[in-house]
C-alpha cells in the first residue's frame, strides 16, 4: 500500500514538472525464464552529490511464521529498523556482519528498540534458535534506491544526470552479488531497463523447513 502511494505520488510529480525536475526510470528484473525476481535492490548514484531525503523511519522488518518479512530490506545509511515479533514464539535476532553487528536476545510480545544502521553494507540477519531464518538489510549510501515488487518491477524518480545503476540480490550469480551499469538520463523519456539475471540455486531460502527440504543441510 505504501509503495502504491509512493508510486502515485511520484507519478503526480512527473506529471507536474516533466522538464525541470524528475524523470521516472522504470525497470524489471527477471530471470532468463521470465520469472520475476522479488525484493531485488536497485541503487542509483549520480554525478551530482545530493543528500538523499530521509524516508519514513524507522523502517520495519517483521518476523512472521518463523521467517523474516521482508526477506530483503534496503535502507539508507542512518536509517533505523524495528524488528517486531509477530509470532507467538520467541526469536533471537543476531547479525555478525561487519556492517552492523547486533543482537536482540530472545523476545516476544514487546517491541524492541529500533536498530540504527550507520554503515553502508550488507547486514545478514539470523535467528539463533531457527537456523533457516535469514534476512538481509541492505544499507546503502546511494541517494536513490528501490526494490522490485512481486512482478519484478521497480521505478526511480531521477533528475537527468549520468548514473551508476547497481542491482543487488543475495543470490545473484555475480561477484559480490551485484550488477553495475552506467546510464545517461536526459530529458527525454527514458527507456525502461530490463535486467535478466541468474540466481544461484540455494537451499537457503529463509523459509521454515517443509517436508521437502526437511533434510536440508543448513537446518
Amino acid at each position: 500500500m505504501l509503495k502504491n502511494i509512493r508510486y502515485l505520488l511520484s507519478l503526480g510529480a512527473l506529471t507536474f514538472s516533466v522538464s525541470t525536475f524528475a524523470l521516472t526510470l522504470n525497470g524489471t528484473v527477471t530471470n532468463y525464464d521470465g520469472d520475476p525476481i522479488f525484493e531485488a535492490v536497485i541503487t542509483a548514484v549520480g554525478s551530482i552529490k545530493t543528500k538523499s531525503s530521509q524516508t519514513t523511519s524507522p523502517r520495519k522488518m517483521d518476523q512472521k511464521n518463523r521467517e523474516f518479512v521482508s526477506h530483503i530490506l534496503a535502507v539508507q545509511v542512518g536509517e533505523s529498523v524495528v524488528f517486531p515479533n509477530s509470532d507467538n514464539i520467541q526469536h533471537h535476532i543476531y547479525s555478525f556482519s561487519p556492517a552492523n553487528s547486533f543482537e536482540i536476545q530472545l523476545y516476544k510480545d514487546i517491541s524492541p528498540k529500533p536498530i540504527t544502521f550507520d554503515k553502508a553494507g550488507i547486514v545478514v540477519l539470523g535467528c539463533n534458535i531457527h537456523d533457516w531464518m535469514v534476512g538481509y538489510v541492505y544499507v546503502t549510501d546511494a541517494p536513490y534506491f528501490a526494490q522490485t515488487n512481486e512482478k519484478g518491477e521497480w521505478s526511480l524518480n531521477l533528475p537527468a544526470d549520468d548514473y551508476t545503476l547497481t542491482l543487488w540480490h543475495p543470490n545473484l550469480d555475480t561477484p559480490n552479488n551485484v550488477l553495475v551499469q552506467q546510464i545517461k538520463l536526459t530529458t527525454e523519456k527514458p527507456v525502461p531497463i530490463e535486467h535478466k539475471i541468474t540466481l544461484k540455486t540455494t537451499s537457503r531460502t529463509g523459509k521454515p523447513p517443509t517436508d521437502d527440504n526437511q533434510n536440508s543441510l543448513y537446518q
Partner: protein, 631 residues
Amino acid sequence: MRHFTRFRSRLLFYIIGLFLLTLSCVFGVVNQVFRQNSEDSIRRELIVTERIFLRLLHERSSQLTQQASALASDFAFKRVMATRDNATISSALTNLSTRVKADVSFLVATDYGVMIDSFAAQKMGQLFFAPELIKQAEAKGKAAQLVLINQKLYQLIVVPVLAPEPIAWLCLGFTIDNEVLAQLKQLTQVEISLLSEQNTALRLHVSTLDLPVNQILPLYETNADGFFWHTDNELYLSRLVILEQSENKKIVAVIERSWQKSLENFHQLQWLLLIIALMSIVGACLAAFWLAKTVSKPVQILAQGVQAIGQGDYRFQVNINSHDEIGKLGTAFNNMGVQLLEKEKIRTLLGKMVSPAVANELLNNDVVLGGEVREITALFTDLAGFTRIAEQISPQDLVALLNNYLTYMSSDISQHAGVLDKFIGDAIVAFWGAPLDDNLHAKHAVCCALAMQKTLQKLRDEWKERGLPLLTMRIGINTGCAVVGNIGSIDRLDYTMIGDMVNLAARLEGANKYYGSEILISEFTFEQIKHDFLCRELDNVRVQGKQKSVAIYEVIAEKSSVTIEQQAFCVAFSDALKSFRVKQFDDAKVRFAELVERYQDDASVLYLERLESQATNTDGANSAVIYDLSK
C-alpha cells in the same frame, strides 16, 4: 603281472583299480567344481562387500558431518567468530574438536584462506590445501573426503559456520586407524587395507592384516572381479576399490578374503569324501574278494578234477553248488567223468575179452568186417596131461587152477606184445604181427614162448606144494602169411587168423609129444630167429597137402644165456643127425646112444628106434626119414 598269476589277485587288482580310478575322477571333479564355486561366490561376496564397505564409509562420513554441523551451529562459537580474536577462536575450535574427538581441525575463511590450523602447519591467510573441498561444500553445503595429511589417512569433513550465511568453513579430520578398520571388518567380515598411490608409488597406511609395513601390492585393474595375491603363508582373493582419485593421487582400499579360510568347509567335505572313499575301498575289496572266491573256488575244484581225470581217476566228481555257467561246467565235467569211466569200463572189459592191442584197435577205429593178408607168427600151447588131472580135482579147483594158469600166460603174451586170439579149454592161441605192425613178430613169439615156460616152472613149484600133479606145456610156433581180421557176424566178432601156417603151428604144438620137446618151431620161424636163439634141428616133416617137407627145430635157449653144456648137446645131436642122414647108421647109432645116455634125450631115443626099424625093414629106409606131421 608276475605277481597276479592268481585269478583272485588279478580280479582284486582290476576291480580295486577301476574303483580307485572312478573315485579319483569323482574326487577331482568335486574338487574342481567346489574350488570354482568357492571362487565365484567369494568374488560375488566381495562385490557385495565392496558396496557395504563404501556404504559404511559413507555412513561414517555422514555421521561425522552431522556432528560437525552441530558443532558449527554452536551460537557461542559464532559469537567468538564475531570477536575476530584469533587466539580465542583457536581455543574455541580446540574445544569443539574435543567434543567430537576430531584428530585435526581447521577453520577456513570464505576466501579459502586458513584462519586456524590445529597442526599450525599452514600459516595464517595461506590458501587452504584442499580448496576444491571448500568449493564442494559451498555447492552442497557439506563435503567429505579421504585425505592424506602428513602421510596419515583422515576422513576430512567440511561444514560451514553459518551466521546465518557461511562466515567460515569448519574442517574436522578423523584418523582412519586400525580401530576404525577393525569395526569395518567386524561388519563386513573381510580383511581391509587402505593404501595410497602417489606417482605410482604404493604405500600401505592401515590394514587389518598383519602385513609387513612396506608390503607393496602390485596394482590391478579395479574393475576386475578380483585377484589372488600371496603373503608369505596365505593366499587372498582381493578386490581393489578406489576411494579417492585425483590427478596424481589415489587412495585405494583392498578388501580381501582368505582363500584358505573359505576352503575350510571344503576341507571338511574332503575328509568326509576320503572316509567314504576308504570305506568304499574296503567294501569293494571284500566284494571283489568274495567274487573272486566264488569264481576261483569252483575253478580250483575243476582243476583238481581235471588233474584226477588225468591220473585216471574217472570216479572223481566235483561238487559245485551253483546254477550259473560255472555250475553247468561242473555238471558237464561230472558227466564227462561218468562217460570216461564208462568207456574205460568197456576198454577194460574188452581187454579181458580180446587182446589189449586189438581192444585199442577196435576202440580207436570203426569196427569193420573183413581182413587182410599179413606175415604173422602164430603160437599154440597146450597143457599135457590136463585132462587127466581134471578127473582128480573138484570143478571149482579146476577152474581156479586153469584161470590162474591162463592169467599168467596171457600176461606173458601181453608183455611180449602178442595178440591173444582165444582160449580153447587149457589151450591158448596167440599171434604176433597184427593188427599192429611188428617186424620182429617171430622173435617176440619165441621169446614169449621161453618166458611162458619159465612162468610155468614157477607155477609148477606152487602146484607141487599144493600136491597137484606136474604139468608140462607144449608150444608150437610157425611164421607165415595168413588172413587176419574181424571175423564173425556183426553182433559177435573175433579178431583172428586163418591160413595153412596156422594149422602148421597147431601141428607143431602137437608134434612136441612125439619128439619129447617143449617148444617146436618151423624152419620159417627159425630163419628169422636163428641169430638170437639156440635151436637144434629135429627133423623134416611133411605137411598135409604140401609136397615140400618142412624142417622143424626145438628152441633150446636164448643165445645170450646158452650154457656150454647146451652148446655141446646141440653140436653132438647135429653130428648124430648128419651121420643118420648120410646113412652112416652105425656111427649114428653110437652117437644117438651116447646122447641118450648122457642127456636122456627123447629125440635121440626116437632116432635109435628108427635105426632099429631100419635094420629090420631095409626097403623103406628112405621113406622113414621124413615124418608125416598129420599123424
